[in-house]
Symmetry: D2
Subunit: 336 residues, 4 copies
């Protein structure tokens, strides 16, 4: 069986996934694409041999579609997800699940009511071989009890549309999820430190770099350097400090080159490049789950909801510089 | 469409591929397995939900099978491949194509007569991200004209059944193929250097380590250290020296660990571990070609034939220590 | 001319320097050693062919001594330094200059009155090739304006005598000095973060690890992980984040080894091992200055005083967890 | 005591050593310089506060000179060394000891007759921390019995005056010495392989790159890539393959930089840069030996003689491409 995918939202990430379906993913075909911009929808549909839709609900309910792939902007996620749930169609949703925790809660409620997981959330880092090796190393016990984690999240630059809040909601959100994944526990507090020095490469409305400090239930302290105009590359670092040993992500490159530039390994220039394998694997995971009729697995609506709660605390700290606690409701059995 | 795979030969590599089909590969199912050992065939068929066959031709011609996956021992490859060709079914064949160049020539002739490629050969290294990055680096021009390549092919140990000749036919064979892949040209001579010193870890019938020296049409000199009882790991190295710069495979590990053992990166312990991604990708490539009705691509019968010719020269040099030339017939248009 | 050295304090670091004078340093000889423990003084004097003293002032004023090398405990530093100043003899003093900033101020006053630098302080890291390369990289402009520095200061373990305060006064003190060295500016505030999680390897009276956060005049933010029971090694890390690029200390090892432990580089197990070259070079620098009749240079009394002021703020923060500002008096012309 | 050095030969290496004496070395002063070019001798003498000589013997016998430092061209080494021996003054001699093995033999004879070592030869690599760590690793037993060594000797470019023979006599000579140092045994055969492909960066009279293959008494096989127009840097590699493990020189850099060029470590651009520490340490070793009245130690005349014998075999192989054996006379007791 080939899974018929209906993809909503034809922006950068949507188009990237389209190419992925065309060249990498097995067992699926994008049969329908949807965008509120008719010209875009028509052009893309034409290019990829799919049917164009301009209304998401219409596409979701179409017989052309087995599974819904949401790449639209955050504010419309909730309606699209609930429509897919109603249509009984499995959903892949790009992060964030929704812009607010409250909206995410509605999705949780619907899924719990349905009694099974219907959605895989796009926290692709969980499919990255590096993070998976780190998790294996932690769980294998070689590091001992974990004390600290040092993260860095660096982008070469960000577009003008990038707001101060996006440092938390768009950038730190990945570390928030991955910390929970690595440690199997929740974050209990957030504090955003604003260094007095700002890079001149950032637009004036930004505070760049920032340092975000998290604490978890068991007391692990994590610092996350967010530097979204670091100029030189898309560079993701993670070092996990345990009682006995330390493990860290390596350069993740397959060759090194000796030249007039020294002995060098390339550094990825974009999220798409750095996490190409992770993206491929998360989408294949989704397709395989659908094809085999399995319940959705991987990052869940609950993960999206909890990350949203942590982000809310982060945004509050971004305003007042204080440490903010995160209160997380009891986790429904469905997500355990 | 799900491709129905008939897999012949249930030894170590055959079982490894079975698990791969079960857990990793999309779009295919192993519906039939074949082994001359009835007990083995029955047990494996039972475990993987496939039908057991004891005769390869019978399985090849069965309606249960869309495509033939050959993991049997070399001496029976030719008959099985030709049977599959006759049945019009695409073939994946583990290397070596055949034990002798002459037999490989018969396969070439059959394929040329058929007028299209019917077989993908199991030179998995061409699907390794490291070698692919090396090739990209060479073809991108950053290295300039290539002068030299230094290779090492190290196994922690080999079984008692490993013969002196297998250093060429089983081990060096991978470098022979990958050199042709990297440089897009043929090897013209081989010389095997036998160092006076042998590791005491090798069984007395072996000469370990060995150094094999190749030259290509354009004059590139390649040395290949074969050390199949190196004790510490399965370690594959490749350094390409160009007029302007040098590129080399890195450690290929995603994390490093700081502990009482120093700052360390794991070294793979087996071929299966080191080339896991390459194996996954070569098999997915085969399945995708079959599913999409495309002509076979990737490593070809011709590659298998030419490698066999180089190996023949290598075996001659292993005996007399002299440099032996390799004469390669004109390449049929089919393989260009 | 061979400089006659009088060395005070025959503890661990004192004996280490004695061996250094014997085997590495050119142009100097330890002619006198002093320790309040008569047995120790006699034994060491005998072993190294020096004259034993039990009273520091007596040794300082002896004709056997051209230059004074202070390795005694902090509380007696001030008296010994001032005695050397009075005797007109150049002083090398192990850090800390004095236990309190007030005492350091007295030394500054004496030196300023003398109108020239009379003392080199034992901040050996300034002589480490790694930190020197970092400084060169910063000053060469390749990194652009500096935004952040991430440091780690890890010891395998500490003796029972190590107190909570020593995390600031003994460990962080090195980063405090080196930050000033790298950035050519002062630290203006300190905050000590106490993670809720403590390693079980630390004695109960310690809080280990700790994170200390500094800010400098221009607004650079530095975080320093102090982990003095990290188990695996003496591991000093420093990563300098600039507007354009990042530079970091490497592993500082000259060979790597491929074995069953993977591909590994040794990690130093002690301060003496990690900074062997730096120690050698700082002492040679001192001896050369004395021999050539040059004014003292390298880390100064002023550096010791300012570091003490920063430590005071750090100790205050260690108590209350708040950020404490550092007020630094105007720098006398002598030290510019 | 300050050792008064008389330095002969004011070319590139001579001037480099002069700066070393001025800025780095303790316990010595260059009191006399000698060059057949009067203008050069006068200018340098003036710059460094030394006395100018135009005749080597005159300088050697002058009371201004305690020890002789020979940086002149090879053909005049023998006469200068013997003159120094006659004057009873210790000699440091830049390699090669002499252009031919026969001349070296005369020096051996004179030294043996004198009954003690009078000369330290400038094989500075023995003072390199990297090679010393390799040797320690070999002798510590972690690698097990040594099987193979892979070396590379790469220069960014060579001057027009560089001849084909210098690949052996000037470049490989360093590996010849260091192999003997690492393995504590002699080389018994040499074969020079001339790859068909030559870099277009080399002048037409050169064959570049070359591969030289050595065997030692115990049967260790060493290959040495000589690539003296490699363009990108002065790059020295050494990988020692043992029965149990492998050790190799690392990048030898103290910092790495993340920038638009990737994550890079600088590669040295010259011998002077790469072996700066080694040069410093060999010269300090010589000065310390003289100052302390010790017999000369480190690389000896015998080492120079044996290396010359190996070079002779290498030159023969460079001509005919055959393997040439090296016959080494019995080693006089003096050098054991």
């Amino acid at each position: 069986m080939t899974v018929k995918i209906g993809l909503i939202g034809l922006g950068m990430i949507g188009r990237d996934h389209l190419k992925r379906f065309q060249h990498v993913i097995s067992g699926a075909q994008v049969t329908a694409v949807c965008d509120i911009n008719h010209t875009t929808a028509d052009a893309v549909a034409n290019e990829f041999g799919a049917t164009a839709f301009y209304d998401a609900e219409e596409m979701i309910n179409s017989e052309l579609v087995d599974a819904v792939f949401i790449c639209s902007i955050g504010p419309v996620h909730k309606a699209q997800i609930l429509a897919a749930f109603n249509a009984g169609k499995p959903v892949f949703c790009e992060k964030p699940l929704t812009p607010t925790a409250d909206e995410s809660k509605e999705i949780i409620d619907a899924e719990v009511k349905a009694g099974k997981r219907l959605l895989q959330l796009g926290f692709m880092r969980r499919f990255d071989p590096g993070y998976q090796a780190l998790k294996q190393s932690i769980e294998g016990g070689a590091l001992g009890d974990i004390m600290l984690i040092h993260c860095a999240h660096r982008n070469p630059s960000v577009p003008e549309s990038y707001t101060l809040e996006m440092a938390v909601n768009d950038s730190a959100t990945h570390e928030i999820d991955i910390i929970r994944y690595l440690l199997n526990e929740n974050i209990t507090s957030v504090r955003v430190d604003k260094p007095r020095k700002k890079t001149r490469r950032a637009l004036p409305h930004l505070q760049d770099p920032l340092i975000v400090i998290f604490e978890t239930e068991s007391g692990v302290r994590i610092d996350d350097e967010l530097f979204v105009n670091c100029h030189y590359g898309y560079d993701i670092r993670c070092e996990v400090i345990g009682e006995n040993a330390i493990a860290a992500l390596t350069e993740q490159q397959f060759i090194s080159t000796r030249s007039l530039n020294g002995n060098a390994q390339h550094i990825a220039q974009s999220c798409m490049e750095r996490f190409a394998t992770a993206y491929d694997r998360e989408v294949q995971h989704f397709v395989d789950s659908v094809r085999d009729g399995r319940e959705m697995s991987g990052p869940s609506s609950w993960d999206g909801y909890v990350v949203a709660l942590v982000c809310d605390a982060g945004l509050a700290s971004l305003k007042d510089g204080e440490k903010h606690d995160v209160v997380i409701p009891e986790q429904p059995a469905l997500y355990r």
